[in-house]
Amino acid sequence: MMANRHLAWGLLLPALLWTLAFFAAPLVIMGMYSLWQRVGMKLVQTWTTHNYQQFASKSFLFESLVNSLEVTATVTIISILLAYPLAYILAERVPARWQRLALVMAILPFWTSYVVRSYSWLLVLSEGGILSNFLMDIGLIAEPMSFANNRGATVVGFVHFFVMLLTLTIYASLVQLPPSYRKAAADLGAGPVRSFIHVVLPLTLPGVMVGAFLTFVLCIGDYITPQILGGNQELLLPQTIMMQISRRSDFPMASALAMILMAVVSLAYLACARWLKLDRL
């Protein structure tokens, strides 16, 4: 076995080098950039916390983080509230042989392209779109109106995606729950509501938390959905980052904002770590 150890390292090396060169090193370089500064069009390579100070003092930068946190929290809560009943009904009320088909159907739209999914919501929400048309037909509004280009549209676009995701993770933890637990609760005199609150809900919490964490991470880092659906009233953090890159070519500032985004995600991970046994999946 000892002679094989070199061989094992040799087999591991390509993957390891790739990850180090194209993942770890770029993050380190980005961290360094965030401590540099762009003055005029030049990059000044002396350590400074200038970018982070700018973030704290310039309201539009800091506000984009607040906006992101608000939108992400709203999306996560609404998605859980919509997905839990759906997962519960699928797991408990739908005959077992139909469950698989029902789940596949629920995540079918997931396979539309990521960019196209937000565009599709634009078709529904824009002025003269399906929703506006429908509301005019039933007489609720008199003129065509737009429901896109605001925070609500961004939230709808996000919720659409994350309801599918959360339904999957919650369904997975519901079907793992042995029916005997609920029977035991019933035998001990608990009604359906008490048995749900004291038995089912706590035991499916890990599924909810895994889904909620994924929702948080994917939602707060997403650029497309707010860019297509959100309009230009307010910016979310990824939009601010992209603006630093594409309009201003300010890589140090963009790097600092990206580091802040990473820090927020890490905090979220630490907060949910006790529920997230990702290696168990």
């Binding site: 094989n4 150890r5 094992a8 390292w9 087999l11 591991l12 390509p14 993957a15 390891l16 790739w18 990850t19 194209f22 993942f23 770890a24 770029p26 993050l27 370089i29 980005m30 950039y33 009943p85 759906l86 009904i89 699928l90 009320r93 629920a106 079918l108 739209p109 396979w111 539309t112 392209s113 990521y114 960019v115 196209v116 999914r117 565009y119 599709s120 078709l123 529904v124 824009s126 003269g128 779109g129 399906i130 048309n133 659409h160 309801v163 991470v217 994917l218 707060i220 880092g221 497309i224 980052i241 992209m242 890159i245 890589f251 963009a254 790097s255 990206a258 985004l261 990473m262 995600v265």
Partner: protein, 259 residues
């Protein structure tokens, strides 16, 4: 259907309606005759599918997407498989740390991975191209391939590998002739999952590309012209392709396991 199941049925119906609404609208108005994909529907017409096929940039982007997807997925599966084999079959020091490092990219936003690559390529003077997109896609798919293959490495293959070694097989023969064929479903699943992710990935491709772009980036630039049935057509087309990927994966891998 009694009074107790009615609310549940209604709820499911409403939520499925919400989930399917945008997709149905997308597909329906890809068959629109006139220039705007909004009601009233005046099709069906295949005019916008013809326009899509006649759009050279779009078709180039489609070919680019397939190229980048296939090559980067092959690289990701190969590197992931070799690393999984090394870590599952040999006791290496710091194995836990190495596993952690290899799966770490799963926990970082694509936006940040893409930005890191962009800054690195810029400061090294590496030109942005399909290659740089491919490099980025290997970064995001390698952890996935590694994790899937690693989770499927069991005692069953280890016995067969030992038998092969006892019969005089060299290590590379063991890997190519015993381990890889036995892990075929896992390798296949990793490949198609990688292909699906690469096919749909936008932000990294957007950041590290310049003249040659992949399909999501080209669709993104089409969006600037506003609502357009041609975008519906290409969107529906992508949907059908992705759906076929999933169907294939399901038929080959999951059915086989059940049998």
């Amino acid at each position: 259907m009694n009074i107790r199941t009615l609310p549940a049925a209604l709820y499911v119906l409403l939520l499925y309606g919400f989930i399917f609404l945008p997709v149905l609208v997308l597909v329906l108005f890809s068959f629109q005759e006139s220039r705007l994909p909004v009601p009233p529907f005046d099709g069906p017409s295949l005019a916008w599918y013809r326009a899509m096929l006649a759009d050279d940039r779009l078709m180039d982007a489609l070919v680019n997407s397939v190229l980048v997807g296939v090559v980067s997925s092959l690289v990701a599966v190969t590197l992931g498989f070799l690393a999984a084999y090394a870590l599952a079959r040999h006791r290496l020091p710091l194995a836990g740390l190495l596993r952690g490092l290899l799966t770490a990219p799963l926990t970082i936003s694509y936006l940040i991975i893409g930005m890191g690559l962009l800054i690195t390529f810029n400061s090294l003077g590496v030109p942005k191209s399909l290659w740089t997109i491919g490099i980025g896609h290997v970064v995001i798919n390698l952890p996935l391939c590694f994790a899937i293959v690693y989770s499927q490495m069991g005692a069953q293959q280890a016995h067969a590998e030992r038998a092969a070694r006892d019969l005089g097989a060299r290590e590379w023969q063991v890997i190519v002739l015993i381990t890889a064929p036995m892990l075929w479903p896992a390798l296949f699943a990793s490949f198609f999952l990688s292909l699906t992710f690469s096919w749909d990935e936008f932000i990294i491709a957007f950041l590290v590309s310049r003249f040659d772009v992949t399909l999501p980036v080209e669709i993104w630039s089409m969006l600037r012209s506003g609502l357009n049935p041609k975008t519906n057509a290409i969107g529906s087309f992508v949907f059908v392709i992705s759906f076929l990927f999933v169907l294939l994966l399901d038929l080959v891998v999951l059915r086989k396991r059940a049998a």
